[in-house]
């Protein structure tokens, strides 16, 4: 008889093992030791956790973070859905924007120094397809680049080398990432396969919500399915640790809102974090943001579908933060919301908005550097219906900043993980990784200007750099990159000019975007025919 060997196989985490978590009813509670600021060498050496909240459908950013400084223009361009100025939740006394009235929870976080808002997040030449734009955000690709790994997958795959071979181990006994739900996000794909495990959203009622898992009837099929599921469960190397972590937490903050799916998901995240998992990234999500019609209720723009959605997001996050504090793990968690795109500036005739580009991103947590980064977009009185909120910050700058300033990844590694070098932004407190964060408070409003404006054939663009890498790009109203006028490194501070020749361009609005270190500014320019 020939001897036969079992080949050694690295079990894929990709597999969703339904019925993974049992209903839990356990007594012991153990608080975790807390680690404060950290100076380690990367994400594996600290206890920081990132919670990604994906809003499916493309959130209307202009009705989420509402312009106050340009309220008249805002009201003019979307009169049928504009939120009344008196209803806007104001933030700091000097802030140029406020929040949708349903987002009282987020305003409380802002007032409590726990919320950063990043304006105009998108990328050059944005895609208005839900699918493609989703893939771009999850993989971290350019608009013309097709990646088969996700940005989180690359981060985790490079942090925990050789994963999944040799994992779990003493250093990392837990899933690297957890997806709440049944289906893993492509963002977790690494070159070695998925880096995440799917966990049902409500661990107390696993049998209600565990994806495709159907009952096991009293038939031969049911008998064999039970057997297969048992093996599948035993094969999941992480089932036990996740269950154990969940079981450690017997009491959570009681104020989670009812009938709020996002809140249910975040409650599970809080429980797993407090239960002691070393898992670095969690992903939760919420649907329904594709508000082409009936975004607001006619006659009362502060109510309607969008108001309900934003209220749920805000309430869920607020409760989550209270729970994290209750559980004593609030210092360990940073959260971020994002959508596949923002929506158009001009509303449509159906009390809604169509697919756009730039969106506000919320970053919350004790480490969030409270404030609004970037400006409200310029909104000229007459604006093409195709006009999108222009690029201020590349979405990968948000990722790079989180990697460097929250997970404490060395900048050179961040470049490898994100496949390029992106601007770092000051939305995380320097204490998180003991990094020096740029102060953008005294930059001034006019680091980039153009003259003449309006212009016909050409205009001179003048910009002031603090030295280092400096970029001047020009975009059209749909966000397409028209040209790059400046892309160079300056030694020291200086003010320079460049001529933008527009003889080949149609008349209309263009945006000149200046980027230097953590600084960016967008200048609206108008080309007219003579």
């Amino acid at each position: 008889m020939q001897r036969r060997d079992f080949i050694k196989i690295a079990a894929p985490l990709a597999t969703v093992f339904p019925a993974l978590l049992c209903g839990l009813n356990v007594k012991a509670y153990s608080a975790l030791p807390f680690m404060g600021g950290w100076t380690g060498e990367g994400a594996a050496d600290n206890d920081h956790v990132l919670v990604l909240i994906q809003l499916f459908g493309g959130n209307d950013g202009l009705n989420t973070v509402i312009p106050i400084d340009k309220y008249g223009a805002y009201q003019n361009l979307r009169s049928n859905i504009a939120i009344p100025q008196s209803s806007i939740l104001t933030l700091g006394p000097n802030d140029k924007s406020g929040l949708h009235p349903a987002m009282t929870g987020l305003r409380a976080l802002y007032n409590n120094d726990q919320l950063a808002v990043i304006q105009g997040v998108t990328y050059p030449s944005p895609d208005e397809s839900h699918f493609r734009a989703t893939d771009i955000y999850l993989t971290g690709s350019d608009s013309t680049q097709y990646l088969n790994t996700g940005w989180v997958g690359r981060f985790l795959g490079q942090t925990y080398t050789n994963f999944p071979n040799g994992y779990p181990n003493a250093t990392m006994p837990d899933p690297l990432a957890i997806q709440i739900g049944s289906v893993l996000s492509p963002t977790f794909m690494s070159t070695g396969g998925f880096t995440a495990m799917a966990v049902p959203e409500d661990v107390d009622f696993y049998s209600l919500i565990n994806g495709i898992t159907g009952p096991e009837p009293n038939t031969p099929m049911g008998t064999e399915l039970t057997y297969l599921r048992t093996v599948a469960r035993q094969t999941n190397k992480y089932a036990t640790v996740v269950e154990a972590a969940s079981a450690k937490v017997t009491q959570q903050y009681s104020g989670y809102p009812a009938n709020n799916d996002l809140a249910t998901q975040l409650k599970t995240v809080a429980r797993l974090v407090a239960g002691g998992l070393k898992t670095k990234v969690y992903m939760v999500n919420m649907s329904g943001f594709d508000t082409h019609g009936a975004q607001v209720q006619g006659g009362d723009t502060t109510s309607g579908n969008h108001a309900v959605l934003l209220g749920q997001v805000s309430d869920a996050i607020a409760a989550f933060m209270k729970d994290l504090k209750f559980l004593g793990v609030d210092k360990r968690v940073l959260g971020m919301t994002f959508s596949e795109f923002g929506r158009r500036i001009v509303s449509n005739g159906s009390l809604g908005t169509d697919h756009g580009a730039g969106q506000p991103v919320f970053v919350f947590g004790d480490a969030a550097n409270t404030g609004i980064l970037g400006n409200t977009p310029d909104m000229p009185a007459t604006l093409d219906v195709e006009a999108v909120v222009p690029l201020q910050y590349d979405f990968r700058s948000v990722y790079s900043t989180i990697l460097r300033d929250w997970f404490c990844v060395p900048a050179s590694d961040v470049d490898t993980m994100l496949l390029n070098n992106y601007q770092y932004l000051p939305f995380i407190k320097g204490t998180a990784c003991n990094n020096t964060i740029d102060d953008l408070n005294n930059i001034g409003d006019s680091v980039i200007i153009n003259y003449p404006n309006p212009f016909s054939d050409s205009t001179n663009i003048t910009y002031t750099t603090q030295g280092g890498h400096t970029l001047v790009q020009v975009f059209d109203v749909a966000g397409h990159l028209i040209t790059v006028l400046v892309d160079q490194v300056y030694i020291g501070t200086g003010t320079y000019s460049v001529t933008f020749n527009t003889t080949y361009l149609a008349s209309g609005i263009y945006y000149a975007r200046f980027q230097n270190g953590s600084v960016q500014q967008v200048k609206t320019m108008l080309k007219v025919t003579q």
Partner: protein, 546 residues
């Protein structure tokens, strides 16, 4: 159903799923029934085959599937390189040298034969023929890899042809052909079974494993084993590995069998006539009701389910055994009766209960997804593709021509777990790993890829632009247990639609791809989602059932 009966059934480890018998099935003939028949009788159920058989009646479909296919036109080729007998690469080694002393070359040829056999299963078309060949290979289990030094590879090739030629024919003719098969004569020592010192090995397995079995009513005796060995003395192989009967080595005395065989006496003959005693003995062996039942139980285990309780014994095994005997042991007749029965189709919904064997899993997924294979003009590529599947089947514990014990693969006889033995904490993730691999980068050997094209599969479905239909049509082909509407909705929403609430987004994306398939955004949008969708389905425990 009363509460009492529920609780009784819950205590049973497995419920037979149907109390119906062999009466002809007259119910619905639609996709679920066709898929059930195809998954059980062939390897997987491809969309094209499902459509084809939906166009026939149930009875005509079974008849078509039971029609023998032509003898393979190709022969195993040299895919191993240097050959001391002068066979050039990708020329056949059949008929080229006996290789008694070249163990390594013989091992290479056996491996070539294994690859080629995989190719036969992949190309088995709309016929049960290759699956029945595999069934009988398990029944007459052999391990060529333990016999590199004494059994030339060609003998295994000849044995494959012998089994194949008889697979749908007469059972007695097949048992005789196997009894006198040179590879089997060597494998179970018949070649050294002589009157002066009988070797009982084959005489025992002939009764225990090939005809009577070890059921409670199989009451043959040790004397019967001895007498069977005496009948078989003198049957051997010559120096050229051809079958030969040597009357001088034959025990020409009479052989008196036990009461189990009705005290039958096989009259002994001297000289060449002694060879004919085999027919007398096989007639006696197959004359028992137990023999027919034993084979019917094996067929039931292989094609329906492994539980053989009193209900199955009464409703299926006994009447099926009667059909088998009355037909003179015609294999096609017994299969036809089973596959046209109410009982078989009762298992459509209750009985997606066969855990796919590794070969069913691997060959089935290649056929279901119509995985692209190199054709005969590229033999190196063909053998690489076949070899990848062979290697996977080996790590999944079902190596063809290398069955670990003479009783067959454990999953077909080891009570009480049976088919569940295919699945353990190594092989289960191994299966998921391999489907994930084939659905992503693909497997690769010597530059030949083995990869699933999820878009091509979706395209073969009736209406892939409708995400609801795409999901349900995909499940019909790939997943045998029923999947609830809410689970189908969840799969569609979270994967195909990236959680968007409007189904039209998928339709738009699909139509944009069809209109301009070379556009990278169009392509990646549908590819990414279909890839994730099918990967997910194949990672489900349900995918392992047929």
């Amino acid at each position: 159903m009363s509460d009492a009966s529920v609780s009784v059934e819950n205590k049973m480890r497995a419920w037979p799923g149907s109390t119906s018998g062999l009466q002809p099935y007259t119910g619905t003939w639609d996709t679920p029934q066709v898929v059930h028949l195809l998954k059980r009788t062939t390897f997987g159920a491809s969309v094209a085959d499902i459509n084809y058989f939906k166009g026939l009646s149930m009875s005509a479909s079974v008849d078509a599937l039971l029609t023998p296919t032509a003898v393979p036109v190709t022969q195993p080729l040299n895919n191993y390189g240097a050959d001391a007998t002068g066979v050039a690469p990708y020329q056949t080694w059949i008929g080229q040298g006996l290789l008694y002393q070249d163990k390594n070359l013989n091992a290479s040829r056996v491996a070539s034969m294994q690859c080629w056999w995989i190719g036969q299963m992949l190309g088995s078309g709309r016929s049960i023929h290759e699956k029945m060949t595999l069934f009988w290979h398990n029944h007459f289990a052999v391990d060529a890899t333990a016999h590199y030094s004494d059994t030339p590879a060609q003998l295994w090739y000849n044995q494959y042809l012998t089994i194949r030629a008889n697979a749908l024919g007469n059972f007695q003719a097949m048992v005789k052909a196997i009894t006198l098969d040179p590879a089997m004569l060597i494998f179970l020592n018949g070649n050294t079974n002589v009157s002066t010192s009988p070797n009982e090995n084959y005489g025992r397995e002939l009764q225990e494993l090939y005809t009577e079995g070890k059921g409670v009513n199989s009451l043959y005796t040790q004397d019967d084993v001895h007498n069977a060995a005496r009948v078989l003395t003198g049957h051997t192989v010559d120096v050229n590995y051809n079958y030969s009967f040597l009357p001088g080595n034959h025990d020409f005395g009479d052989k008196a069998f036990s009461a189990y065989y009705s005290n039958h006496i096989v009259t002994g003959y001297a000289g060449a006539a002694g060879a004919g005693e085999v027919d007398d003995m096989l007639g006696m062996l197959l004359g028992t009701q137990e023999c027919a039942k034993f084979i019917c139980r094996e067929l039931y285990n292989f094609f329906v389910y492994y539980v053989d309780d009193d209900t199955v014994e009464t409703n299926i095994i006994t009447p099926l055994a009667n059909v088998f005997r009355q037909s003179g042991y015609d294999i096609t007749t017994v299969l036809s009766t089973l596959f046209k029965s109410q009982h078989f189709y009762d298992m459509v919904y209750a009985g997606a209960c066969i855990i796919k064997s590794p070969l069913d899993f691997l060959i089935g997924l290649c056929r279901e997804y119509a995985v692209a294979m190199p054709d005969v003009s590229n033999p190196a590529g063909q053998y690489s593709a076949w070899n990848m599947i062979l290697q996977q089947s080996i790590s999944q514990q079902q190596e063809i021509l290398a069955i670990p014990v003479v009783a067959g693969w454990y999953a077909y006889y080891e009570s009480p777990a049976y088919h569940e033995l295919w699945i353990n904490s190594v092989t289960y993730p191994g299966r998921n790993y391999y489907t994930d691999l084939l659905m992503s980068t693909g497997d690769m050997m010597n530059g030949t890829p083995l990869v699933i094209d999820p878009i091509a599969f979706a395209k073969s479905l009736p209406n892939p632009s409708d995400p609801v239909q795409l999901v349900s049509d995909s499940l019909n082909v790939l997943i045998s247990p029923p999947v609830s509407a809410s689970s189908q909705e969840l799969l569609m929403r979270t994967i195909l639609l990236s959680n968007l609430t409007n189904n039209a987004y998928w339709t738009q994306a699909w139509l944009a791809y069809i209109a301009n398939p070379s556009d990278m955004t169009n392509y990646s949008t549908v590819f990414n989602r279909l890839q994730a969708f099918y990967k997910y389905l194949m990672d489900l425990p349900e995918y392992q059932l047929s």
